[in-house]
């Protein structure tokens, strides 16, 4: 049985990257605890509009945990304490108690400037992918799926790495603003497969160079990223990226 809870929500307001920003708060009353967090924010916005206030801006898209658009830092954790390592959209109000104060902040990192309120510009990730996160393939008729044999374990691990949705929680959680978990997952998903090997060295170098150029920090292996990753990426990927990068540089 769903029960209703009332709580205070403190949400971040900021007009663009240069603005200092501040918290506003709002009293939420009788919200059913089977409401999703984003639905609760929709209710908040309806109430704000009714009061003649500016709605709270936040990113969201698929609301089914696969697109990586939602990006809220809830009570000190990226995506909040979701039930099975999922994104903000999979967080439900039953995770909170009556009378709680819920603090909602944007991803805070120099690499992700705030566009408005809790919507941040994560196009830096797209630029890193554009630098090398692909395989160059000739178009034409696809070859037989079994023409290249891939061990099941490698295929599974590549799939796990590919499940990174680029939400940026790793950067948000990292005290160094490092994007290594994202970059290493994207390098790994291709480095693990034979189709990705021919360009593996070039890819690792190009993506790391772009990551550095965009001002992301140096990884110091605190593991905060893997602790909050909604897709359970691990720092084994970071070790693989280090290996790929060092090997590539030594082979130059």
């Amino acid at each position: 049985m769903a029960k209703n809870i009332s709580f205070t929500i403190k949400y971040w307001k900021q007009n663009g990257p240069k603005d200092k920003g501040h918290f506003d708060s709002h009293q939420m009353k009788d919200i059913p605890d089977d409401t999703s967090f984003l639905e609760m924010l929709d209710i908040l916005n309806e109430e704000l509009i009714e009061e003649g206030k500016e709605p709270f801006v936040f990113d969201h898209d698929c609301r089914e945990g696969i697109c990586g658009m939602c990006s809220l830092y809830i009570n000190g954790t990226p995506h909040g304490k979701t039930e099975r390592g999922a994104t903000t959209c999979q967080l439900y109000m039953r995770k909170f108690k009556d009378g709680d104060t819920i603090t909602v902040e944007p991803w805070r990192s120099a690499g992700f400037p705030v566009i408005k309120d809790c919507m941040v510009d994560r196009s830096a990730f797209d630029k890193i992918i554009q630098a090398g996160g692909y395989t160059t393939v000739r178009t034409g008729a696809p070859q037989d799926a079994n023409a290249i044999l891939i061990p099941k374990q490698d295929a599974d691990e590549a799939m796990d790495c590919a499940s990174c949705i680029g939400c940026g929680a790793c950067v948000a959680a990292c005290k160094n603003g490092s994007a290594m978990l994202f970059v290493s997952s994207k390098v790994s998903q291709l480095a693990l497969l034979p189709q990705g090997r021919p360009e593996a060295a070039k890819r690792a170098k190009a993506m790391v160079a772009k990551m550095d150029e965009l001002g992301f920090g140096n990884c110091t292996n605190t593991r905060a990223c893997e602790a909050v990753c909604p897709k359970c990426e691990t720092i084994a990927n970071i070790a693989r990226l280090n290996r790929e990068f060092i090997k590539a540089k030594l082979a130059d």
Binding site: K10, G21, F23, Y73, N75, G76, T77, T103, E105, R108, S109, A110, G111, A173, C174, K175, N176, G177, S178, M180, V208, A209, M211, D212, G215, F216, G217, N218, C219, T220, N221, T222, R223, A224, E226, A227, V228, T234, I235, A236, I238, A239, R240, L241, N242, R243, E244, F245, I246, K247, K249
Partner: protein
Amino acid sequence: MWLFKSSIGRKLIMSISGIALVLFLTFHGCMNVVAIFSKDAYNQICSLLGSNWYAILATAGLGALVAIHFIYAFILTFQNRKARGNNKYAVTDKPAKVEWASQNMLVLGIIIVLGLLLHLFNFWYNMMFAEIIGQPTMGGYEATDGFSYIQQTFSNPVFVTLYVIWLIALWFHLTHGIWSSFQTLGVSGHVWFNRWKNISYAWATVVILCFLAVALAFAICPDSLGNISGKVVPFAM
């Protein structure tokens, strides 16, 4: 050069200089334990590592390693603060798997360097430095009489306390530093991550216990130590 210009290159510098320093600490710790058992043997080691050119060269190398590790720690921290931006989170919740040491390596490192300066003042200054400048009895004992300097230092409870704090900071630093070095080198993965982590804790604990044993033993019962005497077979130099 990629070693200085890329984030992974800079981390590699930290990693390799760190591993070299861990190996030195291991050697130093083993050497210290000798003092508990034999004054003669310990002083023999001190004279071997006195002011000959090999020892001075190795000391200079060590100094360079510490300097590189220290300077890069600041460079990395500065860059990381910049990457993090000026806006701090109002609420932060530290996940259980994030170890305290991993987020405080710079602070621990600063404590370690301060301890190192005290240590150089207590020992190196009176031993190798005294020999280099030609005043081997500058500190009150012969420059090669390391055993007496240990007795003297740890008869002072203030020094004992400072050394214990120093060693605890060093233990925390090593528990993260060792596995982190191998992670940066890329020789880690799903299986080796846990292995390196266990090796880190075991290695750090053994090394620190070697140092701690000497400091505490000399603080508690300085007169009953180092009694195994007799002719020590000299090293062929």
